[in-house]
Amino acid sequence: MSASLKTKHVFINCPFDAAYKPIFDAIIFAIYDLGFVARCALEEDDTSEYRLSKIERIIEECPLAINDLSAVSPDATTGLPRFNMPLEFGIFLGCKRFGGKRQSKKRCLVLDSLPGRYRQFISDIAGQDIRSHNGDPEEAIRQVRNWLQTTSNRTALPGGTEIIARNRRCRAELPALCESLKLRPDELTFYDRSNIIAAWLKSSR
Protein backbone atom coordinates (compact mmCIF):
# COMPACT_ATOMS: atom_id res chain seq x y z
CA MET A 1 0.00 0.00 0.00
CA SER A 2 1.55 3.31 -1.00
CA ALA A 3 -1.08 5.88 -2.03
CA SER A 4 -1.47 8.79 0.37
CA LEU A 5 -4.69 9.04 2.35
CA LYS A 6 -6.58 12.21 1.39
CA THR A 7 -8.34 13.28 4.56
CA LYS A 8 -11.49 14.77 3.03
CA HIS A 9 -12.06 12.28 0.22
CA VAL A 10 -15.18 10.12 0.28
CA PHE A 11 -15.44 7.05 -1.95
CA ILE A 12 -18.93 6.44 -3.33
CA ASN A 13 -19.57 2.77 -4.04
CA CYS A 14 -22.92 2.63 -5.80
CA PRO A 15 -24.66 1.60 -9.04
CA PHE A 16 -24.26 3.96 -12.00
CA ASP A 17 -27.53 3.29 -13.81
CA ALA A 18 -30.27 5.76 -14.69
CA ALA A 19 -32.62 4.51 -11.97
CA TYR A 20 -30.10 5.25 -9.22
CA LYS A 21 -28.81 8.55 -10.69
CA PRO A 22 -31.01 10.90 -8.59
CA ILE A 23 -29.61 9.33 -5.40
CA PHE A 24 -26.04 9.36 -6.75
CA ASP A 25 -26.31 13.06 -7.73
CA ALA A 26 -27.82 13.91 -4.32
CA ILE A 27 -24.95 12.16 -2.50
CA ILE A 28 -22.33 14.01 -4.59
CA PHE A 29 -24.04 17.32 -3.76
CA ALA A 30 -24.20 16.56 -0.03
CA ILE A 31 -20.53 15.57 0.07
CA TYR A 32 -19.42 18.88 -1.50
CA ASP A 33 -21.83 20.96 0.59
CA LEU A 34 -20.36 19.36 3.72
CA GLY A 35 -16.81 20.31 2.71
CA PHE A 36 -15.62 16.93 1.43
CA VAL A 37 -14.53 15.63 -2.00
CA ALA A 38 -16.52 12.91 -3.82
CA ARG A 39 -14.60 10.08 -5.49
CA CYS A 40 -15.88 7.08 -7.45
CA ALA A 41 -15.02 4.50 -10.07
CA LEU A 42 -16.29 6.82 -12.83
CA GLU A 43 -13.14 8.93 -12.54
CA GLU A 44 -11.50 8.97 -15.95
CA ASP A 45 -7.80 8.84 -15.30
CA ASP A 46 -5.41 6.61 -17.13
CA THR A 47 -7.45 4.49 -19.54
CA SER A 48 -4.76 1.81 -19.46
CA GLU A 49 -5.40 1.28 -15.74
CA TYR A 50 -7.51 -1.79 -15.07
CA ARG A 51 -10.90 -0.98 -13.58
CA LEU A 52 -10.29 -2.99 -10.42
CA SER A 53 -6.80 -1.47 -9.96
CA LYS A 54 -8.35 1.98 -10.27
CA ILE A 55 -11.01 1.13 -7.68
CA GLU A 56 -8.36 -0.25 -5.33
CA ARG A 57 -6.28 2.93 -5.68
CA ILE A 58 -9.28 5.19 -4.99
CA ILE A 59 -10.31 3.08 -1.97
CA GLU A 60 -6.75 3.26 -0.65
CA GLU A 61 -6.74 7.06 -0.95
CA CYS A 62 -10.13 7.59 0.72
CA PRO A 63 -10.50 7.43 4.51
CA LEU A 64 -14.28 7.50 4.15
CA ALA A 65 -16.71 5.49 2.01
CA ILE A 66 -20.40 5.33 1.29
CA ASN A 67 -21.46 1.86 0.13
CA ASP A 68 -24.95 1.64 -1.31
CA LEU A 69 -26.14 -1.95 -1.50
CA SER A 70 -29.70 -1.11 -2.55
CA ALA A 71 -29.17 -2.41 -6.10
CA VAL A 72 -28.17 -5.89 -4.92
CA SER A 73 -31.28 -7.65 -6.14
CA PRO A 74 -32.00 -10.19 -8.93
CA ASP A 75 -31.68 -8.70 -12.42
CA ALA A 76 -34.87 -8.96 -14.49
CA THR A 77 -33.01 -10.49 -17.47
CA THR A 78 -30.38 -12.71 -15.89
CA GLY A 79 -32.05 -13.45 -12.56
CA LEU A 80 -28.67 -12.84 -10.92
CA PRO A 81 -27.80 -10.05 -8.48
CA ARG A 82 -25.16 -7.42 -9.28
CA PHE A 83 -22.20 -7.93 -7.03
CA ASN A 84 -19.84 -5.06 -7.83
CA MET A 85 -20.98 -3.05 -4.80
CA PRO A 86 -20.48 -5.86 -2.23
CA LEU A 87 -17.10 -6.63 -3.87
CA GLU A 88 -15.90 -3.01 -3.54
CA PHE A 89 -17.29 -2.85 -0.01
CA GLY A 90 -15.27 -5.99 0.79
CA ILE A 91 -12.12 -4.42 -0.67
CA PHE A 92 -12.70 -1.36 1.55
CA LEU A 93 -13.10 -3.55 4.66
CA GLY A 94 -10.02 -5.56 3.69
CA CYS A 95 -7.99 -2.39 3.21
CA LYS A 96 -9.13 -1.15 6.64
CA ARG A 97 -8.33 -4.48 8.30
CA PHE A 98 -5.03 -5.36 6.66
CA GLY A 99 -3.73 -2.02 5.32
CA GLY A 100 -1.74 -0.89 8.34
CA LYS A 101 -2.21 1.73 11.03
CA ARG A 102 -3.38 4.64 8.86
CA GLN A 103 -5.82 2.54 6.84
CA SER A 104 -7.30 1.09 10.02
CA LYS A 105 -8.87 4.49 10.71
CA LYS A 106 -11.12 4.19 7.67
CA ARG A 107 -14.83 4.66 8.29
CA CYS A 108 -17.77 3.68 6.10
CA LEU A 109 -21.50 4.07 5.82
CA VAL A 110 -23.66 1.30 4.34
CA LEU A 111 -26.86 2.40 2.66
CA ASP A 112 -29.67 0.10 1.63
CA SER A 113 -33.17 0.61 0.30
CA LEU A 114 -34.99 -0.82 3.35
CA PRO A 115 -34.03 -1.26 7.00
CA GLY A 116 -32.77 -4.78 7.75
CA ARG A 117 -32.94 -5.99 4.11
CA TYR A 118 -29.17 -6.61 4.14
CA ARG A 119 -29.68 -9.48 6.64
CA GLN A 120 -31.18 -11.56 3.82
CA PHE A 121 -28.08 -11.45 1.61
CA ILE A 122 -25.03 -10.15 3.53
CA SER A 123 -25.75 -10.71 7.21
CA ASP A 124 -22.04 -10.76 8.18
CA ILE A 125 -21.93 -6.95 7.93
CA ALA A 126 -24.17 -6.59 11.02
CA GLY A 127 -22.48 -4.14 13.37
CA GLN A 128 -21.42 -1.74 10.58
CA ASP A 129 -23.08 1.66 10.24
CA ILE A 130 -26.09 0.58 8.12
CA ARG A 131 -28.88 2.99 7.25
CA SER A 132 -31.69 3.03 4.71
CA HIS A 133 -32.76 5.75 2.27
CA ASN A 134 -35.98 4.07 1.04
CA GLY A 135 -35.00 4.99 -2.53
CA ASP A 136 -35.42 8.68 -1.71
CA PRO A 137 -32.53 11.04 -2.73
CA GLU A 138 -33.42 13.55 0.01
CA GLU A 139 -33.36 10.82 2.66
CA ALA A 140 -29.96 9.78 1.27
CA ILE A 141 -28.77 13.40 1.81
CA ARG A 142 -29.95 13.30 5.44
CA GLN A 143 -28.24 9.95 6.08
CA VAL A 144 -24.96 11.06 4.48
CA ARG A 145 -25.01 14.34 6.39
CA ASN A 146 -25.68 12.70 9.76
CA TRP A 147 -23.03 10.05 9.19
CA LEU A 148 -20.40 12.58 8.03
CA GLN A 149 -21.09 14.78 11.05
CA THR A 150 -20.67 11.87 13.46
CA THR A 151 -17.62 10.52 11.65
CA SER A 152 -15.82 13.82 11.20
CA ASN A 153 -16.79 15.15 14.65
CA ARG A 154 -17.49 18.56 13.17
CA THR A 155 -20.08 20.79 14.76
CA ALA A 156 -20.46 23.50 12.11
CA LEU A 157 -22.06 21.42 9.38
CA PRO A 158 -25.26 22.56 7.67
CA GLY A 159 -28.36 20.55 8.53
CA GLY A 160 -30.05 18.07 6.22
CA THR A 161 -32.97 20.40 5.45
CA GLU A 162 -30.59 23.20 4.45
CA ILE A 163 -28.58 20.92 2.14
CA ILE A 164 -31.78 19.56 0.57
CA ALA A 165 -33.02 23.12 -0.12
CA ARG A 166 -29.71 24.02 -1.79
CA ASN A 167 -29.75 20.78 -3.80
CA ARG A 168 -33.22 21.66 -5.12
CA ARG A 169 -32.02 25.14 -6.13
CA CYS A 170 -28.91 23.75 -7.78
CA ARG A 171 -30.95 21.21 -9.75
CA ALA A 172 -33.38 23.94 -10.82
CA GLU A 173 -30.52 26.14 -12.07
CA LEU A 174 -28.51 23.36 -13.70
CA PRO A 175 -30.30 23.31 -17.10
CA ALA A 176 -29.78 27.07 -17.64
CA LEU A 177 -26.19 26.83 -16.46
CA CYS A 178 -25.51 23.91 -18.79
CA GLU A 179 -27.13 25.78 -21.66
CA SER A 180 -24.82 28.74 -21.19
CA LEU A 181 -21.88 26.29 -21.15
CA LYS A 182 -23.25 24.54 -24.28
CA LEU A 183 -23.61 21.27 -22.39
CA ARG A 184 -26.49 18.89 -21.79
CA PRO A 185 -27.22 18.02 -18.14
CA ASP A 186 -27.63 14.32 -19.00
CA GLU A 187 -24.19 14.25 -20.63
CA LEU A 188 -22.24 15.59 -17.66
CA THR A 189 -19.45 13.30 -16.56
CA PHE A 190 -18.71 12.67 -12.89
CA TYR A 191 -15.91 15.28 -12.94
CA ASP A 192 -18.06 17.83 -14.79
CA ARG A 193 -20.87 17.45 -12.27
CA SER A 194 -18.46 17.64 -9.33
CA ASN A 195 -16.88 20.82 -10.70
CA ILE A 196 -20.24 22.45 -11.41
CA ILE A 197 -21.60 21.55 -7.96
CA ALA A 198 -18.49 22.83 -6.14
CA ALA A 199 -18.45 26.08 -8.15
CA TRP A 200 -22.21 26.52 -7.73
CA LEU A 201 -21.91 26.05 -3.94
CA LYS A 202 -19.14 28.65 -3.78
CA SER A 203 -21.39 31.15 -5.50
CA SER A 204 -24.78 30.25 -4.06
CA ARG A 205 -24.95 29.14 -0.45
Binding site: Y32, F36, R154, T189, Y191, S194, L201, K202, S204
Partner: protein, 102 residues
Protein backbone atom coordinates in the same frame (compact mmCIF):
# COMPACT_ATOMS: atom_id res chain seq x y z
CA UNK B 1 -30.21 29.33 6.08
CA UNK B 2 -26.64 30.33 5.22
CA UNK B 3 -26.36 33.32 2.86
CA UNK B 4 -23.71 34.21 0.33
CA UNK B 5 -22.57 37.82 0.13
CA UNK B 6 -21.12 38.73 -3.24
CA UNK B 7 -18.83 41.66 -3.97
CA UNK B 8 -18.42 42.50 -7.65
CA UNK B 9 -17.75 45.31 -10.07
CA UNK B 10 -20.73 46.59 -11.96
CA UNK B 11 -21.36 49.80 -13.90
CA UNK B 12 -18.19 51.57 -12.72
CA UNK B 13 -18.91 50.87 -9.02
CA UNK B 14 -18.41 48.04 -6.55
CA UNK B 15 -21.56 46.21 -5.51
CA UNK B 16 -22.20 44.28 -2.30
CA UNK B 17 -25.08 41.89 -2.91
CA UNK B 18 -26.60 40.00 -0.01
CA UNK B 19 -29.53 37.92 -1.17
CA UNK B 20 -30.68 40.68 -3.54
CA UNK B 21 -30.09 43.54 -1.06
CA UNK B 22 -27.60 45.75 -2.84
CA UNK B 23 -25.18 48.42 -1.57
CA UNK B 24 -22.85 50.30 -3.90
CA UNK B 25 -19.33 51.57 -3.15
CA UNK B 26 -16.90 53.68 -5.09
CA UNK B 27 -13.97 51.32 -4.53
CA UNK B 28 -13.34 47.63 -3.99
CA UNK B 29 -11.67 48.02 -0.59
CA UNK B 30 -14.63 49.71 1.07
CA UNK B 31 -17.04 47.24 -0.56
CA UNK B 32 -15.07 44.25 0.78
CA UNK B 33 -14.79 45.81 4.25
CA UNK B 34 -18.54 46.45 4.38
CA UNK B 35 -19.24 42.91 3.16
CA UNK B 36 -16.96 41.41 5.83
CA UNK B 37 -18.72 43.44 8.54
CA UNK B 38 -22.09 42.14 7.34
CA UNK B 39 -20.79 38.56 7.09
CA UNK B 40 -19.43 38.61 10.63
CA UNK B 41 -22.90 39.48 11.89
CA UNK B 42 -24.32 36.28 10.40
CA UNK B 43 -24.17 32.93 12.20
CA UNK B 44 -23.12 31.19 8.99
CA UNK B 45 -22.55 32.11 5.38
CA UNK B 46 -19.85 32.92 2.91
CA UNK B 47 -18.29 35.90 1.19
CA UNK B 48 -17.25 35.75 -2.45
CA UNK B 49 -15.23 38.62 -3.91
CA UNK B 50 -15.37 38.52 -7.70
CA UNK B 51 -12.62 40.19 -9.66
CA UNK B 52 -13.21 41.88 -12.97
CA UNK B 53 -13.76 39.15 -15.59
CA UNK B 54 -15.62 36.78 -13.29
CA UNK B 55 -12.69 35.18 -11.46
CA UNK B 56 -12.99 34.66 -7.68
CA UNK B 57 -10.43 36.85 -5.86
CA UNK B 58 -11.41 35.93 -2.32
CA UNK B 59 -13.61 33.24 -0.82
CA UNK B 60 -14.31 33.22 2.93
CA UNK B 61 -16.73 30.98 4.83
CA UNK B 62 -18.28 31.72 8.24
CA UNK B 63 -19.64 28.88 10.36
CA UNK B 64 -19.79 26.59 7.34
CA UNK B 65 -17.41 23.98 5.95
CA UNK B 66 -15.29 25.29 3.11
CA UNK B 67 -16.31 23.82 -0.25
CA UNK B 68 -13.44 21.70 -1.53
CA UNK B 69 -12.20 21.97 -5.09
CA UNK B 70 -12.68 18.69 -7.00
CA UNK B 71 -9.65 17.09 -8.67
CA UNK B 72 -8.62 19.22 -11.66
CA UNK B 73 -9.73 16.71 -14.26
CA UNK B 74 -12.43 16.41 -16.90
CA UNK B 75 -13.82 19.19 -19.04
CA UNK B 76 -13.27 21.95 -16.47
CA UNK B 77 -9.61 21.07 -15.91
CA UNK B 78 -9.08 23.24 -18.97
CA UNK B 79 -8.47 26.82 -17.80
CA UNK B 80 -10.66 28.50 -20.38
CA UNK B 81 -13.55 26.10 -19.66
CA UNK B 82 -13.13 26.68 -15.92
CA UNK B 83 -13.26 30.43 -16.57
CA UNK B 84 -16.42 29.92 -18.66
CA UNK B 85 -18.02 28.10 -15.74
CA UNK B 86 -17.14 30.92 -13.33
CA UNK B 87 -18.52 33.52 -15.75
CA UNK B 88 -21.75 31.51 -16.20
CA UNK B 89 -22.19 31.29 -12.43
CA UNK B 90 -21.41 34.97 -12.02
CA UNK B 91 -24.10 35.76 -14.60
CA UNK B 92 -26.53 33.71 -12.47
CA UNK B 93 -25.52 35.71 -9.36
CA UNK B 94 -26.31 39.00 -11.11
CA UNK B 95 -29.51 37.53 -12.59
CA UNK B 96 -30.67 36.35 -9.15
CA UNK B 97 -29.99 39.79 -7.69
CA UNK B 98 -31.96 41.53 -10.41
CA UNK B 99 -34.85 39.05 -9.99
CA UNK B 100 -35.04 39.97 -6.30
CA UNK B 101 -34.83 43.72 -6.96
CA UNK B 102 -37.59 43.77 -9.61
Amino acid sequence: MAKTIHVYHSESAWTVNRDGKISVFSNKRSAVEAAKRTAKGESSGQLVVHGKGGRIDEYITYGLPRVQTPPKKGRFANRSRAAELRRALFARVVERASERVT
